[in-house]
């Protein structure tokens, strides 16, 4: 097996000391090592935010793009070269706020990507505004009397829309998180993990508060059972349920018809378009 430190680099990390993002970074390195991947086989794609800085801290190819737009970029990469292990690293603001439209349509499109959402229920990099997952009543910058609109439940939406791998992880339970990551990266088709990642600088609660509220989903849950998965995702018992909620073999994977009918090779490997083909098509524009 590969070693985790193969993914180390010497870039200075800009997160606050003690931020749970460090744990997620390590879990990801662990998962990649466990999967036997090499840095050049991986491409991390991110937007902007604290989470979105992660690709800089892991030796790999990466594209650190615009706020909210990681998923389309990753989809494009996947089109060009499906042999790359392409992983989106994003935040709750990045993915569910600015990038909300791409996320919901990516689920339909089902590209062979893995999406990790560092969900800290806040816009951390911009210093503490509410995000789409901030619970009702929590105090956030611009909403100092408490947030008035309810959070979005994206895991539930994803299950409902038949995203074939939906999980929830916790940055305070790294072994479990690493397992989930391994499974999600192995999964063919779009896999999605919402990772609870307390922000210890701007957030309302310390990591310990979350630890008390996290419950691993029991073995009695069958991840192929959509109703039960949806039930767990919709449960509002004050607990955060972590584990794989939903996992079924992916149906149509993005671009599969094209790969079957035209070429199964990465498009990066195609020969240059022959001028003969162009002549051939042009001829159809010559009326006789």
């Amino acid at each position: 097996m590969k070693k985790t430190d193969e993914f180390d680099n010497r870039v200075e990390i800009q997160w606050c000391p003690g931020c749970p993002n460090y744990g997620i970074l390590n879990a990801l390195k662990g998962a990649l090592a466990e999967l036997g991947k090499s840095p050049h086989e991986i491409c991390l794609v991110s937007g902007i935010g604290q989470a979105a800085k992660l690709p800089h801290y892991l030796k790999c190819n990466f594209f650190n793009g615009l706020h909210g737009r990681a998923i389309p970029v990753a989809t494009g990469i996947n089109i060009a070269n499906p042999d790359l292990t392409t992983i989106v690293v994003t935040g709750d603001g990045d993915c569910y706020g600015e990038g909300g439209n791409h996320f919901i349509h990516a689920i339909r499109r089902n590209p062979d990507l893995t999406v990790f959402v560092h969900n800290n229920e806040i816009y951390a990099l911009t210093k503490g505004q509410a995000s789409p997952t901030t619970p009702l009543g929590e105090k956030r910058r611009l909403k100092m009397s408490g947030v008035e609109i309810p959070p979005i439940n994206m895991p539930a939406f994803a299950i409902m829309q038949d995203c074939s791998f939906v999980a929830r992880g916790f940055a305070g339970d790294l072994k479990h998180l690493q397992d989930i990551m391994v499974r999600s990266i192995r999964h063919r088709g779009m896999s999605y993990v919402d990772i609870i990642q307390p922000c210890i600088t701007w957030g309302t609660h310390p990591v310990s508060w979350y630890k008390e509220r996290v419950r691993r989903i029991g073995d009695d849950h069958n991840p192929e059972d959509k109703n039960s998965a949806l039930d767990i995702a919709l449960t509002k018992d004050g607990f955060i349920h972590t584990g794989v909620l939903y996992e079924v073999p992916s149906g149509n994977i993005f671009a599969s018809r094209f790969r079957k009918e035209v070429t199964s090779r990465p498009l990066t490997g195609l020969e240059i378009q022959s001028p003969e083909k162009i002549h051939e098509l042009l001829l159809k524009f010559k009326p006789v």
Partner: protein, 559 residues
């Protein structure tokens, strides 16, 4: 038989498009050059549309304001369009309309004779073929082919309908119709700007096109989607334009030539992505098919209103290129150039067309497909230990590799970054150096961009400046003015950013001709060169500029 303009008019859904397309192909099939352009409202049925077919011996790729033959499918259309018919022209219409008209109540005859109104179109085609003095036999062949899938009954009913129209018009035509389109040996391609752009992209080795539908750009992806398997080009409809531009950037980063296309509003949504391509130095080709704005504007009409917006699109400072092809053949080659230069300079190339170029069908003698070749940057990394995606170089161009193809890691960053692609906050050296590196590419680019085309400059007293799809009309206007004794020339831009080193002759009087109200190219030229304009000929009513229009405006404004 040198220059005949046929205008077919009617409501949307009434058959204008079908008749126009069939006649365009039929006439072209006889060896004539044709130029067809449509004028339609943003609705699916009703309203009033027109389809003009200009028929020539040689190339005549520009719209005319006047008609030799008007085929009006309903009375409203007759009323609206009869004014454009020349004195020597004729009207084929439902009712009698003055001396020089051939009344044929298409629908009622269709209903009476064939039981269904649907045959009205074929009757109209028959009449037109007769008026043009064409050989009925070969057109009947086309009709047979067109309806062959629908069974022999339908085929023979259409044949009869055709003959009915042909003979009805034939009788009336006798003294009025001087035209005789005999079959010739020559032959032209007949193609729209959108189709030529699509094929040019394919020739430039584009492998991925994604777009969100938006008139008048949609024809590009529509055509490519119909031949995607043949060409091996992956096509994806995006959920919005923001996704489209970012998908294209992602695919390009990963190593395939990618493009998107849109119109003004969608382009506006792509502007942040343009800046991203500039910063990450990712090649990107965007086609911007203009229509009149602001906002939704006139979605099915034409304009040249987005030039300054495109030139300055994107926050921050970075190089980009702007092309504006003059016609389909030019568009074909410009696409190849756009892909080549976007790759060479690792930035954005915007190809600006407009509804007129996008939708009109032009004749092309020879595409010279081999004239422009796709070429590819080769980065030799043998011996490279320490690959740096953004290595500082004098030209500003860094070695570009694709992720996953080698052991070298390809790191792209939208933040200001160091040579490796990692975020930097070093304001003393790294950050300003990177700014300079990106801007340095402008130097090379300015040399790669083609100089404007100079026409009849030497003797000219009046010189017009134009850009993009108006070239055909302006050329024709030069001819009209010459007949009036005016020595006029043209400096025409089809590559317009960054503006190249160029000296405008000093002793001329300059006039700009543009499909916008502010004179956008003129403004750009004023900022860059030492040039003054005496006047601006501007069209901003949604219709294409014609030679006629230019002459009229020139006299009007020159008084």
């Amino acid at each position: 038989m040198d220059d005949i303009n046929v205008v077919i008019a009617g409501a949307a859904g009434e058959g204008v498009q079908t008749i126009g397309d069939l006649m365009t192909n039929a006439v072209a099939g006889q060896g004539y050059s044709v130029f067809s352009w449509k004028e339609y409202e943003s609705r699916i049925v009703g309203g009033s549309n027109s389809y003009s077919i200009r028929i020539g011996d040689g190339l005549k790729n520009a719209p005319l304001a006047e008609a030799d033959i008007l085929l009006a499918l309903n009375n409203k259309a007759t009323d609206k369009y009869k004014g454009i018919v020349k004195k020597t022209g004729i009207i084929i219409s439902v009712r009698k309309e003055g001396d020089r008209s051939i009344p044929i109540p298409f629908s009622s005859i269709a209903k009476k004779r064939f039981g269904e109104e649907i045959y009205a179109n074929t009757i109209a085609i028959g009449a037109l073929v007769s008026a043009l003095g064409m050989d009925a036999g070969s057109i009947k062949e086309i009709i047979r082919k067109t309806f062959s899938k629908k069974g022999s009954d339908i085929v023979s009913a259409n044949e009869s309908a055709f003959e009915e129209g042909f003979s009805l018009a034939g009788k009336e035509c006798v003294d009025m119709c001087p035209w005789k389109l005999l079959r010739k040996e020559s032959g032209y391609y007949v193609i729209s700007g959108n189709e030529a752009i699509a094929l040019g992209a394919a020739r430039g080795n584009c492998r991925f096109m994604t777009a969100y539908p938006m008139t008048p750009s949609t024809g590009i992806i529509t055509y490519l989607s119909s031949v995607q398997n043949q060409l091996g080009i992956f096509i994806e409809q995006a959920e919005d334009e923001i996704s489209a531009v970012n998908m294209a950037i992602g695919a390009s980063y990963a190593g395939i030539r990618s493009m998107t296309a849109t119109s003004g509003g969608g382009f506006a949504l792509m502007v942040e992505g343009i800046s991203l391509a500039g910063m990450t130095e990712t090649p990107l080709v965007i086609v911007l098919a203009q229509r009149p704005g602001p906002a939704t504007g006139l979605p099915t009409r034409t304009a040249q209103g987005d030039l300054l917006f495109a030139v300055h699109a994107g926050h921050g400072e970075f190089p980009k290129m702007i092309f504006a092809p003059a016609d389909p053949k030019d568009a074909f080659h410009k696409m190849v150039r756009a892909f080549n230069l976007a790759e060479e300079y690792q930035t954005v190339a915007i190809v600006i067309s407009d509804q007129f170029l996008a939708d009109s069908r032009f004749s092309v003698e020879d595409f010279e497909v081999e004239k422009t070749e796709p070429y590819f940057q080769k980065t030799d990394t043998s011996g490279v230990k320490n690959y740096r995606r953004y290595r500082l170089t004098d030209s500003g161009i860094s070695p570009r590799l694709y992720p996953g193809i080698s052991e070298h890691l390809v790191c792209a960053d939208s933040d200001e970054h160091d040579e490796y692609g990692h975020i930097t906050e070093d304001l003393v050296k790294t950050a300003p150096d990177m700014v300079k590196k990106r801007i340095a590419k402008l130097e090379g680019l300015k040399k790669s961009i083609l100089l404007p085309e100079e026409i009849a400059l030497k003797d000219a007293e009046v010189v017009f400046t134009g850009w993009g799809s108006t070239r055909g009309a302006i050329l024709e206007a030069l001819g009209l003015l010459k007949m009036d004794g005016i020595k006029a020339g043209l400096i025409h831009f089809t590559e317009l950013w960054p503006l190249p080193e160029y000296n405008f002759p000093k002793d001329k009087t300059y006039w700009s001709i543009e499909g916008n109200i502010l004179g956008q190219l003129a403004r750009l030229l004023k900022g860059e060169y030492d040039i003054h304009f005496k006047g601006h000929i501007s069209r901003h009513d949604g219709l294409p500029i014609t030679a006629d229009y230019i002459r009229r405006e020139f006299y009007e404004k020159n008084r």
